[in-house]
Every structure is written in structure tokens, then in C-alpha cells.
Symmetry: C2
Subunit: 461 residues, 2 copies
């Protein structure tokens, strides 16, 4: 078997998961030449929540960050995460915006675009996959992993065939909730390898405590690439530690051949940065805790804690177990949507409503109506007919690709933002996050208003 490849996640998912995506470009740049020498397959550095966080919290141009990173990383591939037709934003965008965004991502330095759709409805990623290939990028298509009656190994193998047919360059099993069990992964990867030549990458989170064992069995099954984070940005809600896998497989046939001395230097670089965010309270110590209830309820850790605080806010904490038992029923009603943003929030809210309002589907949020109307794409299994009737009455759901209903919109958006945009990248920023991008572009170049410093005085009497 070939050498195991490693995607380093510290610069995207690592800090997104542990410190709310707050890593600054000035904290990233000084270590990049070193990271470029470590022997990584790729560095995940962009996409996901980083774009939004740059504009919203850091007063940084995300495009400029990408260009600065690319300047310093000459040998290692740069990778990003893209939510298909949603790009990095919160709605479906027009195909012209999607294509332009992909073009500009590649032009500014990205090599590999990891593309996923929450429902695994690949019509929602078609445009971004095609654009990636058109502009010379590597298109990695995700299987968003979940468990249900219909989400069998056979189901996923069928998805692999779809991915192959779309012309992907590689496949990612995206276990965003950390619920893929090691033995299931072993079988899944073995089966996938029987039907595809494409490299298979595995992505998980440590939240439930299963991640290291998952990677071990995946490597034994022949997975090509795993996602890990350098130790200070590993564990907890983030990925397993890079050094651990470099050491575990050192000298074995799958040896990833990472440079242990360089990994130690990278870890030493990030340690004080992590300590700073810990001291500032941005690294909440709870994110490092193991939450195996995720395995028991098949519900992501973050969703569990959100539900509990939602219920507590309404003085209904005693209904927690009822809601946890309602979730699988709602999932079944809705055709087993994977519990990933935004579907996890939608299913969670509907479950709370079903328990608290004294009747199932007496109250239905607009998002669930849109979902049943097919506006998010096709559900993994059909929505239950009776429930559908309750939710949308006699209306007929759409069966075409949701983005087919969206007119081209780049030119309109460019006109809207006008002179504030100095480049197509600026227009795209505005397309994704209209309010915050506008604020960012208006203030660009102006001297930063100094925040008034707060003096904390800790008196012990």
C-alpha cells in the first residue's frame, strides 16, 4: 500500500473548531515556510467559516490572506472547504456567482476544493465541481456521513459511483459529527476501494472520542489521506493530532514520512498562540471534553448542548430526554437528513416544537417547509406522505435543482456595491455577506478606530 498522506487542518478546521475561527493572518504567516517543509499532502487554509470570520471579526480581507499564504507555501497543496451552491454563505447562489467564486479561489492560490452538500444531493455541487475542473483545480467531492435506515454501506457505495461519474479528482468521507464507527469505516472504505480508483480522504472530529481509532482502522482499510491538526490545535471538537499519526505509522508500510523535528517546531510555534486564546477565554476549555453521548444518540455534540440550553431557556430542561427521543422520529419523517448545518438546527428546532407545543408538527418553521418543498434539494429518503400533507398541504414540491430557479446575479450585485468594490473578489465578498462586506469595504484603508482599552482589576478582599 502507498504512503499515508496527511492534510493539516490547524489553519482552517482546527482554529474554527477550537477558537471560533479567530486565528489572524499575522499569526499564520510566520510558520508557513516551516509547514511547507513538513511533508504534508496539503494544508487546509481557507473556506468554511474563515471567510466570514475574516470580515466579521478580524477586519481582514480573506482574499488577501489566501494570497499571502500562497506566496509562502511553494510545495504543499492548499485546500479549502466549499458548501456547494451555498459557497461559504447562507443561501443558494446563482450559478454565475458560484463559478466566479471558484475561479477566483483557484486564481488566488487554492489547489484542492473540498465540496459538499448537506443532503448529498449532488445537483447542489454540480456547478462548483465543474467550475473547479474548468479552472484547473482539484475537485474533491464529499460524502456527508450520517446514520439511518437508508444510510447503509450500499447507499454510500452508490454515492461513490455518482461521484466518479461527476469527474471528481478525489473523495472525502466527511464525518462532521464524529459518529463513524471504526469497524463501519473499515468496511465502507474496503467497499469504496472496490468501485473507485479515486483517492479517499477521511475527515472527522474528536468530539465523541472515537476519532483516533477510526483513523487507525481506516488506514488499515487503505484510506489514502487523513485530516489531522498539529497538537495545539488538535483534539476536542477538532481533529486528531498530526504528530500522533506520524509517530504511530513511522517505519510502517503506510509511514506518512512527516519530519518529526519540523512538526515539533510547528507545535512549539502554535502553543503560545493557543495559550493566548485560552487566557482570553476564546478557547473555551469545554471544547476539549469528550462527549460520547454523540455515539449513543447519533446527534452531534454541539447539537446536544444547543438543545439543552434552548430547553433550559424555556424552563423545559426536563423535556431533554423527550426531545432526544423525538429527533430520530423527525429525521425519519423528513427522509433522514444528515444532522449537519443547517439541517441539524432545523431538525432540532422541529423536535423541540413537537415536544413542547403539545402536538407533532403543530408548529413548523419556515425552513422545514422549504425543506419539504424541495428547496434544499432531494432528501435521502422520501418525506413521509402524511407529514408532508401536514406541513405543506396540497402544494407540490419542486423536483428540479433548486439553483435552477436563481437568475444570474453577479452583475446585479456588482452594480449594487458599485465603486466600493475594487475587484471581482470584492463583489464576491459582498455577494456572500452583504452587510459585513459593505462595512468592511467602506472602512478599508481608513485608520482603525482604537478600541477603548478595558482595565480589569481583580480585588481579593
Amino acid at each position: 500500500m502507498s504512503k499515508l498522506k496527511i492534510t493539516e487542518t490547524a489553519l482552517r478546521d482546527g482554529h474554527q473548531s477550537l477558537i471560533a475561527t479567530r486565528l489572524k493572518t499575522e499569526e499564520i504567516l510566520p510558520i508557513l515556510e516551516k509547514m511547507d517543509e513538513a511533508g504534508y499532502h496539503s494544508l487546509e487554509v481557507w473556506g468554511g467559516a474563515t471567510f466570514d470570520a475574516c470580515i466579521r471579526f478580524l477586519n481582514e480581507d480573506p482574499w488577501a490572506r489566501l494570497r499571502e499564504i500562497r506566496k509562502r507555501v511553494r510545495n504543499t497543496k492548499l485546500q479549502m472547504l466549499l458548501r456547494g451552491q451555498n459557497l461559504l454563505g447562507y443561501r443558494h447562489y446563482g450559478d454565475d456567482v458560484v463559478e466566479k467564486f471558484v475561479e477566483k479561489s483557484i486564481e488566488n492560490g487554492i489547489d484542492i476544493i473540498r465540496i459538499f452538500d448537506a443532503l448529498n444531493d449532488y445537483r447542489n455541487i454540480k456547478t462548483s465541481v465543474e467550475a473547479t475542473r474548468k479552472y484547473g483545480g482539484h475537485a474533491q467531492i464529499c460524502i456527508a456521513y450520517t446514520t439511518s435506515e437508508v444510510h447503509t454501506v450500499d447507499y454510500y457505495v452508490e454515492k461513490v459511483r455518482e461521484i466518479d461519474a461527476m469527474g471528481a479528482d478525489s473523495i472525502c468521507i466527511k464525518d462532521m459529527a464524529g459518529i463513524l464507527m471504526p469497524n463501519v469505516a473499515y468496511e465502507l472504505i474496503k467497499r469504496m476501494k472496490e468501485v473507485t480508483e479515486l483517492p479517499i480522504e477521511l475527515h472527522t472530529h474528536c468530539t465523541s472520542g472515537i476519532a483516533d481509532m477510526l483513523y487507525m482502522k481506516a488506514v488499515e482499510a487503505g484510506v489514502d489521506i487523513i485530516d489531522t491538526g498539529i497538537s495545539p490545535f488538535s483534539g476536542g471538537t477538532a481533529q486528531p493530532a498530526t504528530e500522533v499519526f506520524a509517530e504511530t505509522f513511522r517505519g510502517h508500510e503506510r509511514d506518512p514520512e512527516l519530519d518529526m523535528d519540523i512538526l515539533a517546531e510547528i507545535a512549539d510555534y502554535f502553543k503560545p498562540i493557543k495559550e493566548k486564546y485560552r487566557a482570553e477565554g476564546i478557547l473555551n476549555p469545554k471544547v476539549m471534553d469528550t462527549e460520547p453521548k454523540t455515539l449513543k444518540y447519533q446527534v452531534p455534540g454541539g447539537m446536544l448542548s444547543n438543545l439543552l440550553s434552548q430547553l433550559e431557556g424555556q424552563g423545559a430542561a426536563d423535556k431533554y430526554e423527550d426531545v432526544l427521543n423525538e429527533i430520530p422520529r423527525v429525521r425519519k419523517d423528513l427522509g433522514y437528513p444528515p444532522l449537519v448545518t443547517p439541517l441539524s438546527q432545523m431538525v432540532g428546532t422541529q423536535s423541540v416544537f413537537n415536544v413542547l407545543t403539545g402536538g407533532r408538527y403543530k408548529v413548523v418553521p419556515k425552513e422545514i417547509k422549504d425543506y419539504v418543498m424541495g428547496m434544499y434539494g432531494q432528501s435521502p429518503a422520501p418525506v413521509d406522505e402524511e407529514i408532508k400533507k401536514i406541513i405543506i398541504g396540497d402544494e407540490t414540491p419542486i423536483t428540479h435543482r433548486p439553483a435552477d430557479d436563481i437568475e444570474p446575479e453577479f452583475d446585479r450585485l456588482a452594480a449594487e456595491i458599485g465603486d466600493l468594490a475594487k475587484s471581482e473578489e470584492d463583489v464576491l465578498m459582498y455577494a456572500l455577506f452583504p452587510e459585513n462586506a459593505k462595512k468592511f469595504l467602506e472602512n478599508r484603508g481608513k485608520p482603525q478606530v482604537e478600541e477603548v482599552e478595558e482595565y480589569h482589576i481583580n480585588l481579593v478582599i
Copy 2:
């Protein structure tokens, strides 16, 4: 293969590793009946640092804690950790004290005594093993795991034969530093199984990030028992999470058959307790971090951070790498002692001296002299002849069992403490921790002096 057994460590190693052994008896008792129903093989509840912590920090009688635990745990075995001739204290004790301590531990409720010697010199555990058997306990003998030229799989297999010959009831591979690599464990356990019928238990710590994979490969190799902690007292410097292994092997041939609902209840019980200790600062968030440097340098994580702060204290932090490189040389000179308390501190200090004093072994602490004199037992390999000459000159090391030089001392200690001791248990408390036991016994029954409450005022100006 038989069902995998689980030793739950939360009530000893879990809180010892994460919150400095501060769990109070009143926090332990309410959940014990529940823990008794979970399906554990054993609960580790006593020994290690818990005895000392009860007297020193909690104003609790450790013997009373044990009796209260035993009352509530009717079906599950109770387990403790004992440092051979050191018992739970800091010196070698007379054989009569050792025997009495073991007798009273079993009489007060212990079923399984895990016994270890830092050097794996089993003459140092002979008395405690024999006493355990004499008083009807289960004697588990440890292999303290370390790496070196002499610590080969063959070396450990030879240790297994010794353990077998001593009449042990089971064997524990004690990987206190978290450096046992998964593939090494696989081979080691397979080889051990060829030469012994005794059940094999594996104990590790998550510090280096390797623990879950270690357990997975150990289970595949046929290990009988693994040590895990319920999730709130798992991970970091403690053991892997119990629930994770219960879920991972559910439905497999090695299914530990733990009750997942009960495990969830136990976790829910301990969560707010953990939060309390976190809020009080007793749970240092850093203990949850992964420190893979342990794997690179084969030096326990705690020792790494101690060394660094020791050097920083002397303005010599720039010598850190030199000291890390000196440690393996010192270990070689001294016949490869395992880096476990107190040997880790001794080797660390000697390495610092060798680097900072401008000459190797120019300064030698008394403990190292004693070690070379054979006062700690036999080193795994002989001490280097030249180094020996430098350290002890023409003196001749002892070759007999160190405790052979200790007279019986129980009666003398009983006379010393006099009427303050109301039982043999009290005398043993005094034997182990003379100063703190005396204070504890003097204040027993007196009303507790209320600590003056501190008012913390946090002003933000």
C-alpha cells in the same frame, strides 16, 4: 475470544490525573450503586495518591472512605494501586508494616491490589504480593513499561515468567507515560499470551494522544482488561473514555456489555462536579491538551513541563534541548531506569546538573547515589562502571533486597503515635505520612475551623 473487561478509573486515577486527587467522599458515594450496576469488571477507588490526599487536603479518613465505598458496591470488584514496598508513601517500609497494610486494605474492602515497582525489581513487591494472597486478595503484578535497548519484548516476556512464578492472579502492563505504541503492544500482548494463562490488563494515559489506538490494537491482540474513565474524568492526562470503548465494541465478539444508559447517567452525575473543579481552577485546562513530544523524546509529558520550568527558573531555558538530549545518556549510564516517580525526577535532575554544571556527574544528588548503591533495587541493566566509580567511588553497592535492611517497625510506630491512634488503620496512616497523619488524628472529632471566605470583586473600568 472472551468479553473485554473494563476497569473504571474515575474514582482513583481519573481524578488523581485531572484534578489533583481532590474528589471528596461525599462526591463519590451517591453514584456508587449506579456504578455497581454498569457491568464493570472493577472500580479503581483507592491507593495511589488518594490516601495522602484524603489526609493532607480533604481532612478525610481514607480508611473510612474505603469502607463507605464497599458498603455501596456489592457486585463489582474494588481495586487499588500499591507501590510495593513503598506502599502509598515515599520510602521503603518494614515487611511487617507492608503486610499489615495489605491485610487492612483487604479487610476494609479491597478485592484487587495492583502492585508495582518502578524498577520492575520484583523483590520490592514480594512481601506485598504474598500478603495479598495470604489475606485472600487478588494480586495483580505490574510491568512498568518503558523503552530502551534492554526493554525489548523478550525482556518483558521474561518478566511475565517471573510474575507467573510469584503466584500472581493477573498481570498489568502499566504504561504510565503513554508511550507504548499500538503495534508494539500488539506484539507484546500476543507474546505474553504465549507464555501465561494469567489475565492481562492494560493501563495507560492519554497524554501523548496514542491511548485509544493502543487499546484498540491491544483488544485485537487479546488483552483481557483495559482501564478507562467515565467521560468527564477521561482524556488528557487521564485514561480514555469508558463509553467510547463500550460503543466501539458493542455487538462484537469482545463486547464489554456495559449498560450504555447507566454509563450516561454516571457521566451526567460527574459532569457538574467536573465543572465545579474547572471553575475553581483545580482542573487546569492544560491537562486536557495532547502532548505528542512524549513520543518523540520518550519522556513523560509531566517530566517535560517540569524540566522546562526548572530551567526557566534558573534562566537556562535555552538549554532545554541539551537537557532532552542528555536524558537518554543518563538513562544509559544508570542502566535504563523507567521514567516513573521517583526515578523520572531523579534522572531529570541529574540531566539538568550534567548540562548546567559544566561537567557530567560533577554534582550528583543523594538519591542518585542511593540508586547506584542499590538502595532502590536492581537496575534493569548494570550501571556503567566508569559512572559508578565517579558517583560512589570504591563503595560496594548492596545486592540484597533493600527492605532486608529494615527492622520490623509497626510496634515502634504504634508506640510513637500512642493514644492518638484508635486502630491499627490509624497506626498505618501514621506510618505512611507521619506529620499529616498526626495532624489529622489530633483534629479528628473537633469542629472544623471555618476558612475565612474571600470576596472576589471583578471590576471592569
